[in-house]
Amino acid sequence: MFGLESGIVLAVIGAALAVLLAGIGSAIGVGTVGQAAAGVVSEDPDKFGSTLILQALPGTQGIYGLLVGFLILLRIGFIGGSPVALTVEQGWSFFFAALPIAIGGLISAIYQGKTAVSGVYLVAKRAEESGKAIIFAVMVETYAVLALLMSIMMLFGVRV
């Protein structure tokens, strides 16, 4: 099933997964926070600013996924026009390099969304505590950043 050309296919699947899964997570997270924020703002329009920041937080995972996908394509020469001939081993390496941000991004974005929803409710009750609400949600970001770091280290470790 896997010929010599399939290395490149595996790498492309990895790039697609990084963007897809992390993007799905971010869409769920940002979407849920947006609904909660809309509820709060409909009763109290002054809360728009602080709830908007909270809504944006789970969006970063999608960007990290895009970054990893982009870097994979760059390394295998999809960007620039001359694709490198990859062995199956190299293909799998790129595939696995994409997984930390793909799965880590998906799950951390959903949980960051949940934390940000709670933050929106906190802002609804106490506008002056919006900074704390943001910090709670940012804590979840740590794990998305760690996943991104690992993905980048792995994909630059592959020799082509």
């Binding site: 979407g31 849920t32 609904q35 929803v117 929106v120 609804a124």
Partner: protein, 335 residues
């Protein structure tokens, strides 16, 4: 998450609406006001302010309360992703209306001010038509059965207003219990079973005081609770034994404290207050839920509690009760 995230918008609105509930300070100011008029003025900085302008006399305060209740039910029906959640709590008003209509039809005295139009799930016109034409086909099953049974019974033995209350309450709670079973929501189930259990314990104490029979007790206990009082307790048991038997239930403290005053003064007001506070504590658990129907239910019950508190304070003020006595009757607040 996707399943409950449709509640995100509703809960967001609820969280802001909760900040407008009357807090302890505001209620304390009402209690300490010199007159009923002054107590009412405290409400002018709250959600009730709109109605105050139209109020000619303090004695008409019920108008404010029912207008606010109506507003809350309308708003929550629109806001909640599942209207059924609100319909569950509105059902008691359908049964209330039906009771009033039954009594009005048979006692030949019209008391339209007792009816609550717009609150329940069934249009008032439909209930009026059903009672006047003796045709209950369009009503929910449990209500229909109870109404038909009542009509048949009255045709045989004459009218009995007590029976109207009794059978319709049984039907209401049976209907609610069916719904709780179907919904599988732990929060709603916990609230409902506690409500039924506490009401049944109160009923038990009353029946025992009136020295009625066990058959009578079996007929008045409501369905849907977690305690089987009929087998747990006996009407001839001394109070100590009753307290002892209930000691392992979650209501031990409520009963123990509530019954103390019952023995001395023969009133259950203290028990009722403690029971309401116990239920409110259950209701408060909604604060720890971010996505789901719980905060919506919690807000609805908080609002009903608030209206009850205002009623207690204003009736106390109008009847010139001492501040201490009003405070003694007050319930906790949700916020």
């Amino acid at each position: 998450m996707l399943n409950v995230d449709r509640y995100a918008y509703a809960v967001g609105r609820i969280k802001v609406m909760e900040t407008r509930l009357l807090d302890r300070d505001r209620i304390e100011r009402m209690v300490e006001a010199k007159s009923a008029e002054e107590a009412l003025k405290v409400l002018s900085e709250s959600e009730y302010s709109d109605y105050l302008a139209e109020l000619a006399d303090v004695h008409e305060y019920e108008k404010i309360l029912s207008a606010e209740l109506l507003r809350i039910y309308r708003e929550l029906r629109l806001l909640s992703p599942e209207e059924k959640i609100i319909a569950f709590f509105a059902r008691k008003y359908d049964y209330h209306n039906l009771k009033v209509l039954f009594k009005a039809a048979h006692l030949k005295e019209q008391r339209p001010e007792l009816l609550l139009p717009g609150l329940g799930n069934i249009p008032l016109e439909e209930l009026v038509r059903a009672v006047s034409e003796n045709d209950f086909r369009n009503l929910p099953l449990r209500m229909q059965e109870a109404a038909q049974k009542l009509v048949a019974k009255f045709a045989e033995d004459g009218f009995d207003p007590q029976l109207v209350d009794l059978w319709l309450d049984q039907a209401l709670y049976a209907e609610l219990a069916d719904d709780v079973r179907k919904r599988k929501n732990k929060y709603l189930r916990d609230y409902f079973t506690s409500l039924v259990d506490l009401t049944n314990i109160k009923t038990f104490l009353r029946v025992r005081r009136l020295q009625r029979s066990k058959n009578f007790l079996a007929a008045v206990l409501l369905p849907g609770g977690s305690l089987d009082l009929l087998t747990m307790l006996d009407l001839s048991d001394p109070l100590e034994v009753i307290l002892d038997r209930l000691a392992s239930t979650p209501y031990a403290q409520v009963v123990a404290e509530g019954v103390q005053l019952f023995q001395q003064t023969d009133t259950l007001t203290r028990y009722e207050k403690l029971a309401d506070n116990f239920l409110l504590e259950r209701v408060r658990q909604a604060k720890y839920v971010t996505l789901g129907p719980e905060p919506v239910i919690g807000y609805l019950l908080a609002k009903e509690n608030e209206i009850k508190i205002i009623r207690i304070v204003l009736t106390g003020k109008i009847n010139r009760l001492p501040v201490e006595e009003i405070r003694e009757r007050l319930r906790d607040v949700y916020v």
